[in-house]
Each structure stands twice: as structure tokens, then as C-alpha cells.
């Protein structure tokens, strides 16, 4: 070796090979020399003082296998290292670093980790997501819970279950997501449309659930959670087991069973609100360094009772319910579930493959199959008594491929294609005209996204996506409806057949949607960071918005779709500013969302039947805008005590009519005081106050109706359906402690009280607020064993 200057530098980033995540605090040491470095907050490292020649570098990281890399140095070099990153499934000593961005690096997003998810083991996905500031829920009672992200829900919020977009008839406001949250090891909420990989129509946002990743080592571990609650006298059991081998092979299995009887408000039993749920999932796969595959199947089966008092036959029933303030049907507690009820099954089967190409990136291919069977039972007469009123089977096949380019240090790009075929079959044996018609839908999407590290503290990202979809439906219309809608002039050529008083129509509609995102993520210094994101999303009308046509029993309204609807397009700007000032930390997330041709359901007159008059609600399009802010603040009082507060506000306006949008979440404030002491077996005690303000911005949809009162008099009365309920405050108590029961096993005991003061309240976003008070006090206990 000739003489040389030993002043070469090796720089780069340490990343997780599986997902490209940066790895913070990885130790890099040059074998045989006293040269080492630790990767910083951005995963970056610098090794100085290298001579020209061949070196072996050992990299260690608390969550990874030790790895050695050989490198030839001749001058200053840049080299990224990828480590096999193990998620810390076992006894979760180390909290996993920040997840890979589901949206773009500039999007406002929040991740719920398994510790939070486990607290809601016996509840639903929607309940757990309320932990996220800016996420509320649209409920039908307490068991049908739909997430609302910054004021938007249903078809505007995509739910990605282990990489697959859920196709579970999410358009219905009474249709909760059909997935067991116990399958998720983490849940990410992206507040906006920047997660283009998952769809271009996320006007509201995207919720991504991930299952446990198997480590590449010989291990067997699992956990079991047993939960019980006083309200509803419920019991839930969930258990999961994962067997992994050093070769990368793994097997996992998981199952959940829950049951609950009638829930109770402070003053009365909420009759027929029980729940029965059984779910399981199975998977196996191989995760090698450069290639692998996953096979996954999950099954969800739930039977949910719908409050008996909310099933009404006519508007005069509704008027009586609103005026009386108490439900008209209260029976003793039972575990039995009668009509009205929902009976839903969801199957998801998935095969994923990936292959990593050196100096290029990772190519993945996913095929998924989903089948959703939804039966809804109403109170019926005669031979139809035990027949479902609604019986839909939705089948979806999706094939998707994505290429992730990550060979360059400062540039990461995704290119993807996705195609899907969907078929809806409403069973005619219900004997009730179909709410959603038979249809076939083909869709195709293509996207590309890039993420660039412009400087050490500035990252830029951008993405575009194009979607094409075609819906080919076959629907029977009543002749009277077809005429009343004045469809003959516009859609007369779609009529296939005219039979007695019905028409068979074959609408075939195409939609072309364009969505895009652009943003920046700037680290001011180690304590402050700022994200700015602009996104546009485009959503085609869903089958309910196009085709629904009939009576809604829980609202006593006639709901009418409109064949004339076109896509809606949103333009959203969001800023997230996070900071830390000593023991004080904060996060501010203001947003502005302008939505052109926003599809709303609004009242339009009355319709008369032999059951009296019903208000008619029609789908229509208006220009709308939403703005608001999510705020979080925390203060560490001492080693043991801290206090956290979060506040969310949304303001929605129908710009065409200059009036507020309906169903916007009321401003809400949560404050939690926690005590935590590691030395006392991780004893954790917290007290939370949840204050929900009164929603003062609402559209006046009250209508006058003439009906016969109990005394036989015809009276004309305004039906007060619009006014939101009063503000309320609830107190929650939570406590948990860890006990080591055996070498590898840990027992966590939890005791919780919800609505400690047994406060009577009603929530604006609960569709049963006309009929009953919300839940009363609930004592819950939870036993968790990790092994």
C-alpha cells in the first residue's frame, strides 16, 4: 500500500430494509479501527478518517440483527445501509420508531400503537380512532361506529386493512368498518388525500391498519387479552400467536370473540343493543432480505342489535319520540338480539409478493379477494318475519403492483398500477325492492409519487394519480318514481324493459378522476418541525348516492339517489407544526378544504303514504368548504406526572346556500392528567375529561307536518330534527399495572371507568340521539398476557 492521506469520509443513511424506514441510533463501527458513528435523528451517519482500502463495517441497532458490510473506500463515499428491522413484538421493551409515512412525508398523520389499540380490544375501530385529535365518530348507537376525519366520513374515508382497501359497503352511514381492530399492531390516520398509493378518492383521509411483522429469528410469541365490561355485561377474548424462523418463514394466527347484551343509559336499558362478534385471521409467509411473500386470510362476523325504539314506522312515531324524550320501548336486560339488527360477514384473502432489486428498489405485487355479506333485518309481518330486509353480497377482486425506487439516498419514488373488479348482488328473496341495485364495477388506477431530501432538513414530496371507473348497474325503478324524477328525457335510452309498474334500467356510467399531492417537510431544528401539504382528491358518486330509493326505517325518511350526480373534487391545504420547549410540547394542525360538487343529502319536501307523510331527502351537489384546526399540547409536570390536552374544531359551510353543512363534529376538548411510575411495575393512572361543546352551526332542516295526535286531533307541528343536543362533559378513569408472572411472560391488569359520573347526554353525531340517551357509567377490566 502506498502512502496516502487518511481523510476520506463515508456518509449515508441507515434504513430498515423491510420498509425503508430510517433507523435512528444505529451504531456503526469500523472493524479493527477506533472509528465509529451513531446514526442521527434522520438516520444519517458520518464515518471520518478512513484511508483508501477495504473495510468491514459492523452495524448494530437495538431493534435489528447485527449486520456486517464490506466496503471499498477510495475517496469520499456515500453509502446507505439497510438493516433487517425487527418490530419489537416480544414484551415491547423498545417502542418502535416512527412508522414509514403512509401518506407523504408532508401529510398530517397520527399513528396509534398497539398499547393504545389494546385498550379498545373489546370495542371497535371507530372507538380507538377517537384517540386521534381531529377524528370523531358517526354512530348508530354505541356499536356501529364510523370514523370521521376532520368532518368527513363514509366513502370519503378509505380504510386500508393490511394493505387492502376495504370494500365493505362503507357508503352507508349505518355501516361500521368490517374489521377486527385486534388484528392491527398499528393504525395510521392520514388526514387528507396524500396517501395516493391507496386511492385517489380520499377526500376525508385514509386509515391504514398494519398487522404484526414477523422478525427473522427463531421465536414463538403471542398475547391474550380478556376484557369484561359492566355496561352491556360484555366479555371479549382475543388471542394471537406468531411463530417465526431465522429463515424468514413465519406463521401467524389470531382470533377474537366478543359478546354483549343490552347496553344501558344512566336511566334505562337500551333495548336490543347487544352484540355478537367472532373473527379470526391466519397468515404465513417468507421474508427474505431480497424477496418474500405473504398469504393472509381474515374473517369478520358480527351480529349487531339496533335499538328497538329507533325503528319507527312513520313521522308521527318520530314526532312522538322527539317530544317524549324517552324511548317507547324499554324491556329488561337480555343478551338476545332481535330485529332490527345487522348481520355482517367479511372475508379478505390476500397474496403479496415482493422482490428487491439491488440498486433499484422493491417491486411488489398484491392480489386480494374480498366478499362482504350484509343482512339487515327490520321488524316485519307474517311469513317475512325472519327474512332479511336487505341482503347484499359485494365481491371485489383487486390486483395491484407497486415499484418503490430507493437506490438513491435522497430520492424515493413509487410507481404503481391497480385494477379491480367488483360485483354487487342484492338477493331478491328479501321481497323488498333493492336499496342498492345489481352492479358490476371495473376500475383502474395509476400513480406515481416522489419524495426528495433536498437538504438535511428539508424534504419535498409530490404525487399524482389517475383513476378510471365504470359502473354497470341494473335497477328496477317504480314507474311513478322514474316520472317524478323526470328521468325519461335524460335516461330514457337506458330503459331495458317496462313491466307493469316497474322499469328495468341499465345505467352504464364512466368516471375519470384525477388526484394529486405536493408538500414539504422542514425541520427547523431538533425541537421544531413544520409540514405543509396541498392535495386534490376526486371521488366518483357511490352506488347509494346514485341509486338509493326507498324508506329508511331508523330516520323515517325517504332517501333518493340521483343518476345525474357527477364526481366531487376536493382541494385541501394543511399545515402541521410540532414543537418542543423544554417540558412543554405542542402540535398545531390547521386545514382548509374546498370541495367542488360535494355530494350531500338534503331534505326536499314530503311524500304521502298510507303510513302518513315522510320527508324526502335527496342527494344533491353543492360547493362546500371546511376549515378547522387540531391542537395538542402536553406538559411534563414531573418525572411521574404529565398533563395532555387536545382540541379539535371543524367549520363546514355549504357555499351555494350559505348555510352550515350538516353533521359536522362539535368542537371538543380532551384533557388527561396521568401518573406513571416505572419502578412500581409501570403503574399508570390517568383521569381524562372529555368536553364536547354544543354544535351551534347546523342547517335548519326542520319541517312542518300535519299528523293526528294521541287525542285524535290533527295538529301541524314542526319536527325538530336539526337542533344538536346540548354540550356535555364526561370523566374517564384509567389504570394499569404490569406483573411479571414468568420469565418470558408479562401480565398487564387494567381497570377503567367510562362516564365516571354517570352523566346523561346525547351526541350530535349519533343517529339515535332522537330516541335515547347515550351510554351510562361503564366499569371495565382487562387482563393481558404477553408470552
Amino acid at each position: 500500500m502506498h502512502s496516502q492521506k487518511c481523510d476520506n469520509t463515508l456518509t449515508g443513511t441507515v434504513r430498515d430494509f423491510h420498509d425503508g424506514n430510517i433507523l435512528v441510533n444505529a451504531t456503526l463501527s469500523v472493524n479493527g479501527y477506533d472509528i465509529y458513528a451513531i446514526s442521527d435523528f434522520d438516520g444519517k451517519y458520518t464515518l471520518d478518517g478512513l484511508c483508501a482500502g477495504f473495510y468491514t463495517i459492523t452495524i448494530t441497532h437495538p431493534e435489528c440483527e447485527v449486520a456486517e458490510f464490506g466496503i471499498d473506500v477510495n475517496g469520499n463515499l456515500s453509502k446507505d445501509f439497510k438493516l433487517e428491522h425487527h418490530t419489537e413484538e416480544l414484551s415491547a421493551v423498545t417502542v418502535k420508531g416512527e412508522n414509514v409515512n403512509k401518506g407523504s412525508s408532508s401529510s398530517a398523520e397520527t399513528v396509534l400503537q398497539s398499547a393504545t389499540i389494546e385498550k379498545y380490544s373489546n370495542a371497535s375501530l371507530g372507538d380507538a380512532l377517537r384517540e386521534v385529535t381531529g377524528v370523531s365518530s358517526l354512530n348508530t348507537g354505541s356499536t356501529v361506529v364510523k370514523p370521521v376525519i376532520q368532518g368527513l366520513h363514509s366513502s370519503r374515508v378509505l380504510i386500508i386493512n393490511n394493505g387492502t382497501r376495504m370494500e365493505d359497503q362503507e357508503w352507508g352511514v349505518e355501516h361500521a368498518p368490517n374489521l377486527d381492530l385486534n388484528t392491527a399492531s398499528s393504525i395510521t390516520v392520514v388526514k387528507g388525500a396524500s396517501a395516493l398509493r391507496y386511492g385517489g378518492d380520499a377526500v376525508g383521509g385514509v386509515i391504514v391498519t398494519d398487522i404484526s411483522k414477523a422478525p427473522s429469528k427463531d421465536t414463538l410469541f403471542g398475547k391474550t387479552i380478556l376484557s369484561g365490561a359492566s355496561n352491556g355485561r360484555s366479555l371479549g377474548l382475543t388471542t394471537s400467536l406468531l411463530k417465526a424462523y431465522k429463515s424468514g418463514l413465519y406463521f401467524l394466527g389470531q382470533g377474537t370473540t366478543k359478546f354483549a347484551g343490552d347496553l344501558e343509559s344512566p336511566d334505562y336499558v337500551l333495548s336490543n343493543t347487544g352484540l355478537n362478534e367472532r373473527d379470526f385471521s391466519l397468515g404465513f409467509g417468507l421474508n427474505k432480505f431480497t424477496y418474500g411473500f405473504d398469504v393472509y386470510y381474515s374473517f369478520y362476523d358480527s351480529e349487531v342489535g339496533i335499538l328497538r325504539a329507533s325503528h319507527i314506522g312513520s313521522v308521527s312515531d318520530l314526532v312522538r319520540a322527539i317530544n317524549s324524550g324517552t324511548p317507547n320501548s324499554i324491556t329488561d336486560f337480555t343478551y338476545g338480539i332481535d330485529a332490527p339488527k345487522q348481520d355482517v360477514q367479511h372475508h379478505l384473502a390476500k397474496i403479496s409478493l415482493f422482490k428487491r432489486f439491488e440498486n433499484a428498489g422493491k417491486l411488489s405485487l398484491d392480489y386480494s379477494f374480498q366478499q362482504n355479506n350484509r343482512k339487515e333485518f327490520d321488524i316485519r309481518r307474517g311469513d317475512d318475519k325472519d327474512k332479511a330486509s336487505l341482503d347484499l353480497q359485494l365481491t371485489t377482486h383487486t390486483l395491484a403492483t407497486n415499484f418503490l425506487y430507493d437506490a438513491a439516498t435522497d430520492l424515493k419514488a413509487n410507481l404503481g398500477l391497480e385494477g379491480s373488479y367488483q360485483e354487487n348482488f342484492p338477493d331478491p328473496n328479501t321481497g323488498i325492492r333493492r336499496l342498492i341495485p345489481d352492479y358490476e364495477m371495473y376500475s383502474f388506477g395509476a400513480y406515481t409519487t416522489v419524495d426528495i431530501n433536498l437538504t438535511d432538513n428539508l424534504r419535498l414530496d409530490a404525487g399524482i394519480r389517475y383513476d378510471y371507473s365504470q359502473i354497470d348497474a341494473q335497477k328496477y325503478y317504480q314507474s311513478s318514481r322514474w316520472e317524478e324524477r323526470d328521468y325519461e328525457s335524460d335516461f330514457g335510452d337506458l330503459v331495458v324493459d317496462r313491466i307493469d309498474n316497474q322499469l328495468l334500467v341499465n345505467p352504464v356510467f364512466d368516471y375519470r378522476n384525477f388526484s394529486a399531492t405536493v408538500g414539504a417537510h422542514y425541520d427547523l431544528n431538533s425541537d421544531f418541525d413544520l409540514k405543509f401539504n396541498l392535495s386534490t382528491a376526486s371521488r366518483a358518486p357511490n352506488p347509494a348516492e346514485l341509486f338509493s330509493d326507498g324508506l329508511h326505517h331508523s330516520a323515517a325518511i325517504i332517501e333518493l339517489g340521483d343518476l345525474r350526480l357527477d364526481k366531487e373534487q376536493s382541494y385541501k391545504a394543511s399545515v402541521e407544526f410540532n414543537g418542543q420547549l423544554g417540558d412543554f410540547s405542542f402540535s398545531l394542525n390547521p386545514f382548509y378544504n374546498q370541495i367542488d360538487d360535494f355530494i350531500i343529502l338534503e331534505p326536499n319536501g314530503l311524500q304521502f303514504t298510507n303510513r302518513g307523510a315522510f320527508p324526502v331527502y335527496e342527494y344533491a351537489q353543492v360547493n362546500a368548504r371546511l376549515y378547522g384546526i387540531d391542537v395538542e399540547a402536553g406538559y411534563r409536570i414531573s418525572q411521574e406526572f404529565d398533563i395532555k390536552s387536545s382540541f379539535a374544531y371543524v367549520n363546514g359551510e355549504d357555499l351555494d346556500r350559505e348555510r352550515p353543512l350538516i353533521d359536522m363534529p362539535a368542537p371538543n376538548l380532551n384533557t388527561t392528567l396521568s401518573f406513571f411510575k416505572t419502578e412500581w411495575n409501570n403503574l399508570n393512572i390517568s383521569l381524562r375529561n372529555q368536553s364536547v361543546f354544543e354544535q351551534t352551526r347546523f342547517p335548519d332542516n326542520d319541517f312542518d307536518i300535519t299528523y293526528v295526535n294521541d287525542g285524535g286531533q290533527e295538529v301541524t307541528e314542526s319536527v325538530a330534527v336539526s337542533e344538536p343536543p346540548a354540550a356535555y362533559s364526561l370523566l374517564y378513569f384509567a389504570s394499569s399495572i404490569d406483573l411479571n408472572i414468568y420469565k418470558q411472560s408479562k401480565l398487564t391488569l387494567g381497570f377503567y371507568i367510562d362516564n365516571v359520573l354517570n352523566t346523561s347526554y346525547r351526541d350530535y353525531l349519533n343517529r339515535q340521539r332522537y330516541f335515547v340517551d347515550d351510554l351510562g357509567r361503564n366499569f371495565r377490566i382487562q387482563l393481558k398476557i404477553n408470552y
Partner: protein, 195 residues
């Protein structure tokens, strides 16, 4: 190699699944709703004089067309009428008589007949559950009743059918709606004249 094999297999599976589901372009079956009550007919037969018939026909059920009401003539004051109500579904042919279902489930149904306050008239039930179910129950159903108006006047007469009423609640057996609960399957008001 393994991955390639699996990817080929999955593609085959996809094509296979797709081709079986896209075959069925069959026309969906038409549904003629069985439960819809298109026709409410009240026949009032007096001890002497003309029969009075009150009818409400709504052939498109929950569709946009309003029911068509017809009243054959005025009632006579001071005359006792024997009343009977018939519910039909005329969207199917032959028309389905819904009374049969009400009779079979007469413990879960009850008709209520009400007059506006400017009419001095009353209705008395003339049937019980026991007539249809032989269950020993004396709770009324209201498929038959007697009606008498005492003085000449005009006002409204309302027919209500409640599904799953609380028949044991106070006043319900006497035909008072206040505590009946349940949900309305029929609610129709006729403008009647008593001469």
C-alpha cells in the same frame, strides 16, 4: 423460482375468479313487494240505511304518488254502524289480503280509531285476540268494531294500525293511543260528515 411460481399461480387464480363472475349478465329478478299496504278500506254497515265505505289507495307504496282517498257518503247521526277494516296489497295479482297476517299475529297488532274533537262519535271494539288465535286473550284487535255518531258535524276520522303495541298499557285496550308505543303500519285520516 418459488416466488415466480406463486405469482403465476395467483394470476391464474385471479383470471379464473374474474372469468366466472363476469359471465353472469343475467337480468335481475323483479321484486313485487309483498308487505306493502296499498289499500285501506273501512266498510261501515248501518242497521238501516246506506253502507259507508272509506278507502285509501296508494298503489306505489313508498313511491312518490300520494294515496287516493274516497268516501262513499255521509254517516247518519244516531245510527249504529258495524265496522270492518280490510288491508290489501294490490301490487300483486290477485291482490293479497293482509288481514290474514294481522289475524295470525293479532297479539302483535291493534287498530285505533279516532275522531277529531268536533265530532261527537265513538268506536267500540267488537273482536278480541281470542277470536283469531284462540289464546284466551280478551285484548282487542280492531279488525271489527262498532261506530256511532251522535250529532251532525264534519271532522276527521283517523285509522291507525300499530305493530307491536304495548297492549297492557293503560287505556290501550279501550282504544287510546297515548301509551301504545310500537310503530305505525297504517295512519290515514278521512274527512267525514255526519248528517
Amino acid at each position: 423460482m418459488k416466488t415466480i411460481k406463486i405469482s403465476i399461480l395467483s394470476l391464474i387464480a385471479l383470471i379464473g375468479l374474474n372469468s366466472c363472475s363476469s359471465d353472469d349478465d343475467s337480468t335481475p329478478e323483479i321484486i313485487n313487494e309483498e308487505e306493502v299496504i296499498t289499500t285501506v278500506e273501512v266498510v261501515l254497515t248501518p242497521t238501516t240505511g246506506d253502507v259507508v265505505t272509506l278507502k285509501s289507495i296508494d298503489l306505489d307504496g313508498d313511491g312518490p304518488n300520494a294515496p287516493v282517498l274516497s268516501i262513499s257518503g255521509p254517516l247518519q247521526a244516531g245510527i249504529l254502524y258495524n265496522g270492518a277494516i280490510t288491508l290489501k296489497n294490490e301490487t300483486v295479482s290477485p291482490a293479497e289480503l293482509i288481514n290474514e297476517e294481522i289475524e295470525e299475529e293479532s297479539d302483535e297488532h291493534q287498530f285505533f280509531y279516532q275522531f277529531s274533537s268536533n265530532l261527537d262519535a265513538s268506536v267500540t271494539y267488537t273482536d278480541t285476540e281470542n277470536d283469531y288465535l284462540s289464546n284466551g286473550s280478551t285484548n282487542p284487535v280492531g279488525l271489527t268494531f262498532s261506530l256511532q255518531a251522535n250529532a251532525a258535524a264534519s271532522g276527521s276520522f283517523t285509522v291507525t294500525l300499530i305493530h307491536e303495541p304495548n297492549k297492557d298499557a293503560s287505556g290501550v285496550a279501550e282504544g287510546t293511543l297515548t301509551n301504545a308505543g310500537g310503530e305505525r303500519d297504517v295512519e290515514q285520516t278521512f274527512s267525514i260528515t255526519v248528517e
